[in-house]
Point group: C2
């Protein structure tokens, strides 16, 4: 059984990685998205195990102790993380997995699972990133400046990634991410090479 591939889709907040992942998942079979765990309370409409695994702080901290996360972070007092078990189980079953996470999380995953495929989603420009952040709700000038500073810092981590997709036109960006997944599925590894040669040999 060939191991599944882990696709880590990441980039600054406002780059559009969430929308892209949703569309890609809707069309691809045999690929699953990891559900994050969090200590924050569910918002209206959020369903446990679909949007997040909602747990209390003690449960989360026990899992940290047990090295149970591929990555986790404290965001304004709430803990968020990617439980390792489910992802590993899928990969072992040959199922590809998508993680949609921020750049700091992606860098943690890169350390523990460097064989992942790291895709960076970029906004077409800082100007456009500003517009998108503005569109999401009221930002003070100060919080906007902080967000843009963070975005630039995150973009500087791009050398750790395998692919970049500039999300100017959403359809083009979705097509590129899907192409990356398809191409990675066509990549040859030693196990597969042996299998292919044997298969044709037996047939002859």
């Amino acid at each position: 059984m060939t191991q599944g591939k882990l696709f880590v889709i990441s980039g600054p907040s406002g780059a559009g990685k969430g929308t892209i992942c949703k569309e890609v998942l809707d069309e691809e079979r045999n690929i699953r998205m990891s559900v994050s765990m969090t200590t924050r309370s569910p918002r209206k409409g959020e369903i446990d195990k679909i949007h997040y695994h909602f747990v209390d702080r003690e449960t989360f901290e026990e899992l940290i102790e047990a090295d149970g996360f591929l990555e986790y972070a404290d965001v304004y007092g709430n803990l968020y993380g990617t439980p390792r078990d489910k992802v590993m189980e899928w990969l072992d079953q040959g199922i590809d997995v998508i993680l949609e996470i921020d750049v700091q999380g992606a860098m943690q995953v890169k350390k523990s699972y460097p064989e992942g495929v790291f895709i960076f989603i970029l906004p077409p420009s800082i100007e456009e990133l500003k517009n998108r952040i503005k569109g999401r709700g009221s930002e003070t000038e100060e919080s906007m400046a902080r967000r843009l500073g963070t975005a630039l810092q995150e973009i500087s981590a791009i050398d750790q990634y395998d692919y970049r997709v500039i999300n100017g036109d959403l359809d083009v960006a979705i097509n590129r991410v899907r192409s990356i997944i398809t191409a990675e599925q066509c990549k040859l590894n030693d196990v597969e090479v042996g299998k292919i040669i044997n298969r044709y040999k037996e047939e002859l």
Copy 2:
């Protein structure tokens, strides 16, 4: 200027690489196909510089002497080859180039241009390969056995390739080759990483 990419599309005769390349080229912009040079006479309908560069043996041999081919071969007394100059000129201009060549040719290109992207087109089965070869014209049992033996030998070179595309359903195969090209165009290299970071920095 980022260097263009060289896509070497190869596989046993009957795998369908010609049809796939034609379809891919019809849809992709900014990608060109190299035109081979040959010493054989034009067949009906073949146009010089479109289907082949038709030259005499002396011209071809002079170009061999001058190391002017990325690859060449003698096929039943006729010489066929990929002139190096045009391909290199396009790559230097940042234009991607497709070479559709046999496995022996691809292995020559791999030696002189290992940074190429090597894609292997496979028939879905030996049975199907037989049918396709039969469909092309009258084959004696002996020539069929020789062709299949060659195909198996060629498939054994698959470990030298980066990607494999099984051509069972033509549309699926075309989509996969296009995805590989798109994905490779999204790959990050050091030059690009520097450019991206600078672009966003300047904007801020």
